[in-house]
């Protein structure tokens, strides 16, 4: 399944019209120890660039932006008890929420893995 990345360090993996969203390993490293994740509720309509999710670290609260527009269908309930999953497994078990894409052409503006790695290497 294709995976795309944003300049704000979110990833989205797309399966048909469903996207799974998380933050990258680089992002979790920058944020540090994550202590709480405020997740969106199913049914929430989000526009690309909205911040439906907030990740709290010991240091600060950080917005997570929607890489594309859509409607939230699900969120990772395991994070309620284990927010540290976002640190230990950010690009897999530490996923944040799923949404149904409303405009798949928005994916065109995102980076693939190689482009994101090059972007991070340049930071």
């Amino acid at each position: 399944m294709p995976r795309y990345f944003t300049q704000d360090h979110e990833w989205i993996e797309v399966d048909g019209d469903t996207g799974t969203v998380g933050i990258t390993d680089y992002a979790q490293g920058q944020l540090g120890d994550i202590t709480f994740v405020e997740l969106p509720e199913a049914g929430t309509a989000v526009k690309k660039g909205d911040a439906p999710c907030v990740v709290d670290s010991v240091k600060a609260a950080s917005d997570v932006y929607a890489p594309v527009s859509g409607t939230v269908t699900d969120a990772n309930s395991a994070l309620a008890d284990e927010p540290e999953l976002v640190n230990s497994d950010p690009e897999n078990g530490g996923w944040l929420f799923r949404l149904t894409l409303s405009d798949a052409t928005e994916l065109d503006g995102l980076m693939d893995k190689a482009a994101y790695d090059a972007y991070v290497a340049g930071l």
Partner: protein, 377 residues
């Protein structure tokens, strides 16, 4: 338009480096701008560093803080005119907490004062030190000399194993064990002169160590070579002091607050509360007599979501206060905060709510420190 005008008048200020800058980078410190300096916010991670300090010993570089020496004919009376301190009860070599106040009794800075043989040694906050120096120079008489000890570095070694680690490498005329909490003395570290006091800002036993800047890297290496010691960044310094209930200037303390509503009356020594005679005394004595509408309290939050500086505190639909610090407590496993709240809501056990992005978080007023102090008295 006025904002643009202000900007053109401000000179761009270059971020400065501290004596241990290269040392922090070599140790993997993630450097951020703080108080005008590049400083390490963390090395391996705030949580791990925080817990390490609570169970072993952490080395903090606090060289950004201002170290001042004040001396001259009549220095005691001159200092008592600018600080609400009673120097007649200040024995040699033991630091005492005090404050610089403005004419309205607002807090300009909090600081430590130590009587040395020939004058007084002050440690002030990094972000405020230039203003402090200007304030002191303005208000101290000409015959008083203020020296900024800007060729000295300042380290803090904090934690239950700080004594064991430092004792192994220090030498002096008397043993390190002669120091109890808030006592200090002159020692040698790696051949250099070191002024060491048993004090700090984490709530743990520990030491603050003033050394020549040129020896700082060698001494930091020597301390970190002890198995108990790891370097700790600003991130954990902040979460440790918050757990210890210790206010941070620029957040919990500001010119908007006096020692009375800041609940730091112990900084206004007993004789000064009746006699006054220090800058800001009128307001402080009035606040003492009349009380203040609000007071600084500790809050323990339910759940895991933290509330931070600026979040509003509510009792039902009434706004009753504002957070000045807040974050997740690694030791307690839940968020904690400091806030100024109305006196009616300040009693321990009072249930309140904190607004975080439109969501109300349940919180309870609790006594501080949140985590008990473990000073070596």
């Amino acid at each position: 338009m006025s904002e643009a005008d202000d900007q053109t008048e401000d000179q761009p200020i270059e971020t400065l480096t501290l004596p241990l800058d290269a040392w922090h980078r070599a140790k993997g410190g993630r450097m951020v701008e703080f108080a005008g300096y590049w400083m390490p916010v963390q090395y391996e991670g705030i949580m791990a560093e925080h817990l390490w300090t609570r169970e072993s010993a952490g080395l903090f570089d606090v060289s950004h803080m201002g170290q001042l020496f004040i001396s001259g004919e009549g220095v005691e009376a001159a200092l008592e005119a600018v600080l609400p301190i009673d120097l007649s009860t200040l024995k040699p070599f033991g630091p005492r907490y005090s404050m610089l106040l403005d004419e309205q009794g607002g807090i300009l800075d909090d600081l430590m004062v130590t009587r040395w043989s020939s004058g007084f040694y002050l440690v002030v906050n990094g972000a405020t030190k230039w203003d402090d120096i200007a304030h002191l120079r303005e208000h101290l008489p000409d015959e008083i000399t203020l020296t900024h000890l800007d060729e000295s570095a300042l380290l803090a070694l904090q934690g239950p194993k700080a004594f064991a680690a430092l004792e192994r490498v220090v030498s002096g005329e008397y043993p390190l064990s002669a120091l109890t909490f808030m006592k200090g003395g002159q020692f040698k570290l790696a051949g250099a002169d070191a002024w060491i006091s048993r004090s700090g800002y984490t709530g743990e036993d520990g030491f603050e160590i003033s050394i020549p800047a040129e020896n700082a890297a060698e001494i930091a290496d020597l301390l970190c070579a002890q198995p108990e010691v790891k370097p700790i960044g600003l991130g954990a310094r902040d979460s440790l002091r918050l757990e210890a209930g210790l206010p941070l200037y620029g957040h919990d303390l500001s010119p908007d607050h006096s020692p009375v509503d800041a609940d730091l009356l112990f900084a206004v020594n007993k004789r000064r509360r009746s006699e006054g005679g220090f800058i800001g005394a009128e307001r402080v004595l009035r606040d003492l007599a009349d009380g203040t509408p609000q007071v600084r309290v500790g809050l323990a939050l339910d759940g895991r979501q933290a509330a931070r500086e600026g979040a509003e505190v509510y009792a039902g639909s009434d706004k009753v206060g504002v957070l000045t610090s807040g974050g997740f407590s690694p030791t307690l496993g839940h968020p904690i905060a400091m806030a100024y709240v109305n006196r009616a809501q300040a009693a321990a056990g009072t249930a309140l709510e904190i607004d975080v992005r439109g969501k109300r978080l349940a919180a309870t007023v609790v006594p501080m420190p949140f985590v008990p102090h473990r000073y070596h008295r």
